[in-house]
């Protein structure tokens, strides 16, 4: 199992976020709630071309809460 194939797909930051999420989900209840707060992001971004902004896109699209 090669340990470096993920580098072609996503950045180190994404790798760190995935592992962090795994660690958070494995914590006990109270610690997990506190850690989840530190790991949330509602980031939205917008690409600009020639002085005009594009569509605003959510970085992490909202998961439908009923489906899970």
């Amino acid at each position: 199992m090669s340990s470096a194939t993920w580098r072609g797909v996503f950045t180190y930051n994404k790798y760190a976020q995935i592992t962090a999420r795994a660690v958070r989900q494995s914590l006990n209840e109270t610690e997990r709630v506190a850690a989840e707060k530190r790991g949330t992001t509602a980031l939205k971004y917008q690409k600009w071309e020639n002085g005009v902004g594009g569509q605003q896109v959510l970085l992490i699209p909202e998961v439908d809460k009923t489906a899970a």
Partner: protein
Amino acid sequence: MLATRSVARLAAQQSHQLGAAPKHARNMATLREIELRLKSVKNIEKITKSMKMIASTKLAKAQRAMVAGKEYGVANSELFQHTPSETPTKNKLFVVISSDKGLCGGIHSSVSKATRRAIADPETVDPDSSIMVIGDKSKGQLSRLLSNNLALTFNQIGRDIPTFADAAGVADLIIQSGVEYDTIAIVYNKFVSAISYESAIVEYEMEDDVTKDLAEFSLANAIYAALVEGHACEQSARYVPSSSEFTCLMFRNAMDNASKNAKDMIDRLTMQYNRGRQAAITNELVDIITDYWYPSVVDPLIVRQ
């Protein structure tokens, strides 16, 4: 004779009241207006006071987070101190750190001005350099003058304490955007003290052949440190404990001023209202008294009216 006198008095009362009704109505209207204004200003004072309270608790929390987040920034910059760049480069990517919310004094304009100043200097910076902005307020300010330089903008950061997830997301988007740059200049507000801040620009040069992971991670680190420090500056800008020496500082406390102004207005309006009320009462008394004895003294004059 008695009959004419009573008729005259009746006519006098009516004419006097007809003549006086507009004056009375005017007094009443002014009093009513003042009363309404007083009520609304009192409500405003309540709102600004509570905002000040909320902002002060948020400030303490943000300061704690900033102290923790600064460790990341310090560790990051230590690495770069050992590897100084050879030649200063002109093609810079500016990452401007601010937020979406207002009511914090000059926080957003401070970073916007610093960015404009840096780009205007042709010695060190290519005027076509790309700018990426975090925060709607600075985005609005910069898009007015430098909209052609904007490449990416981000928002929804700064409602709460910024997380490393926010910074990692921003860093990834910057890397994947494909914008060409030699160095990254992060423009943010440096926390000088609980009552003052100043804009600062930190530059990072990345070499992404062997140390790609490290370059990506340290970008996220640097952005995180700047986000947290900027957040703490913003919280302190919303609340400053009032003390006698802060009047000579260039940095103001928005909510404290608003509460003070509201209180001044309330005092002034209350005084005005009371004076108006007393004047109205005095006028009514005068009218009643003159209605009572004036006709009996100067009968023929009243009849002619």
